[in-house]
């Protein structure tokens, strides 16, 4: 069995034969396809909610409904930039792993996790403001509150899962689970994080900008 290890800031490939595990090579494409199917199913889930929201919104008398203020665009723009920035750091984390720069990889991974956590903090702050000051709630503000909290909450759940997922990936890579040749977990993590970013582009646009 091949043994992977990380030593002195550099990645070491499979130690025994200098070859990539044959089973890994044979199953990698299947795993990639499986993960892509998972992301597509998630995309369908978000799309369903987004189209339901847009349909309900278009059939109402003006938006937001009377008595509800527009959402804070400036704060949401900052929070969006934080999340989009985490997408860029995640991309460079994977690139550095591919090039064997473990130090830079770890730095970019930690930055991604921190930025993801900051985004969640920003979302919690926004929720607090909406509930406490604007009295917008999931159940008591009609379609607006229900659709906003459902969609952004569902996205926030995905970000939370992503932060946990990336933390586990970082710990796994520190403990030598991945090598320079075998790193499908990191590829999947990057795909997931980019997906979460891209979903926010849509949510930010439909809730704050139109």
């Amino acid at each position: 069995m091949a043994v992977a290890s990380v030593s002195h800031g550099g990645l070491v490939s499979d130690a025994h034969h200098g070859e990539v595990d044959q089973l890994y090579v044979e199953t990698r494409e299947l795993r990639l396809q499986g993960f892509m199917l998972f992301l597509v199913s998630d995309l369908v889930l978000f799309s369903s909610f987004i189209f339901a929201y847009l349909y309900m919104r278009s059939s109402g008398q003006g938006w937001p409904p009377p008595g509800i203020n527009r959402l804070d665009v400036a704060f949401a723009a900052v929070n969006s930039v934080i999340l989009f920035g985490s997408g860029a750091t995640m991309h460079y984390a994977l690139e550095n792993w591919k090039h064997g720069n473990f130090g830079k990889y770890s730095g970019f991974m930690v930055a991604t996790i921190i930025l993801g956590a900051l985004f969640l903090g920003g979302q919690a702050y926004e929720y607090t403001n909406l509930i406490v000051h604007d009295h917008v709630t999931w159940g008591g503000s009609g379609i607006f509150g229900a659709s906003f909290f459902t969609l952004t909450g569902m996205h926030g759940f995905h970000v939370t899962v992503g932060v946990i997922y990336l933390t586990i990936l970082l710990l796994q890579s520190i403990h030598g689970t991945y090598t320079k040749e075998k790193f499908f977990g990191l590829t999947a993590g990057t795909l997931y994080w980019h997906f979460v970013d891209v979903i926010w582009v849509a949510l930010f646009s439909i809730f704050y900008l139109i």
Binding site: A74, V78, V81
Partner: protein
Amino acid sequence: MHTDLPTIERIIAILGGIVVAVVSAKALKDDWKTPGFENHVFKLMLGLLCLGAIIAILAGANVLGNFPKAA
């Protein structure tokens, strides 16, 4: 110049958005010729990330999402 919290937030959104847009566009350019299915997906994602950063810049600059205050 009057600098209240929303103004500071808008400045941060614009500056941060420019950084993210430039970095993601550069990453997209660097990866443009990489082959393989997953790399094509990454390129699509990076392109959308860049678009998101541009949208955030426009929102910060009051070009998008600039609605009159409710009475």
